[in-house]
């Protein structure tokens, strides 16, 4: 996989969370993820097509996404529910859009599908292609989340 595809997703994730949820986040070191078990409790997944085909996913720990959505709504959210799932879908959508904008500036055009959301302890993430899955952990004062980027080339 072209590693130059990774950075725009890291930048986009930081921008989206910091702008919409007013939270400081710190990106960890990317690593090759070998299994399909999610590193959290709720995941947004979106398919991308273009110069490469693949998916990105964003998985949040419960505590982390409750804080993010509470900040977005200016109202305390206490449980994982439909509202949280909807918010994860929209956050995934925004991360995809921001990253595609940065990729376009380097001549790489991508189109995105409608995101889907999976919830539950130890759920699995199905990426649409069999390429390597690069995971990037993000740390906040209120729990962690992880993005996975998987392209066929």
């Amino acid at each position: 996989m072209d590693v130059r595809l990774i950075n725009p997703f890291i930048n986009a994730t930081a921008n989206v969370i910091e702008t919409m949820a007013f939270m400081k986040i710190k990106a960890g070191r990317p690593y090759l993820k070998k299994d399909s078990v999610a590193k959290g409790d709720v995941t947004g997944v979106i398919g991308l097509t273009g110069v490469a085909n693949g998916t990105i996913s964003v998985t949040f720990q419960e505590r982390c996404i409750l804080k993010i959505v509470s900040n977005m709504f200016d109202e305390e959210m206490k449980v994982l529910n439909e509202e949280i799932a909807d918010a994860v879908g929209e956050l995934t959508n925004m991360i995809s859009g921001q990253a595609r904008k940065e990729l376009e500036e380097t001549g790489k055009i991508f189109h995105a599908a409608i995101p889907s959301v999976i919830t539950g302890k130890n759920h699995t993430i199905s990426h649409f292609t069999s390429g390597p899955k690069i995971a990037i952990p993000f740390y906040t004062d209120d729990g962690n989340f992880t993005i996975e980027v998987c392209f066929d080339k």
Partner: protein
């Protein structure tokens, strides 16, 4: 900026409708209606007198761009302010929206200030 006008927010994500509604309320708007797709938005536009449309782009059933084209083809709404608020930030998207007659364009993620500034430009 006249905040007594009637606003229609169109987005398939309840999250985004809620965030935009919160921002509009903070700015003083009180007459705010919602639709979760373009088809429903057209029904609202037919039944109500809407003064400002704020729409997402990427929605099932009917995209925000198709909604914009339908609105601009309608004599009742051909000149009404239409703000596109979308994650679709690629140049071609912006060009298509401008060609279809969008009044202004906000890329997600956004701040409340960005929405306020854009609204001031398109509302008398």
């Amino acid at each position: 900026m006249d905040t007594s006008i009637k606003v229609l927010i169109v987005d398939d994500f309840a999250t985004m409708r809620r965030i935009l509604k919160n921002i509009l309320k903070q700015l003083g708007f009180k007459n705010i209606l919602e639709a979760d797709d373009g088809t429903t938005a057209l029904e609202v536009l037919e039944k109500q007198d809407i003064d400002l449309i704020i729409s997402d782009w990427n929605m099932p059933k009917m995209t925000g761009l198709d909604l914009l084209k339908r609105v601009r083809a309608d004599k009742k709404y051909s000149k009404h302010p239409f703000l596109m608020v979308t994650a679709e930030a690629q140049k071609q998207n912006v060009i298509e929206a401008v060609q279809a007659g969008v009044s202004n364009y906000v890329v997600k993620p956004f701040t409340a200030e960005a929405i306020s500034e854009k609204l001031k430009k398109i509302i008398k």
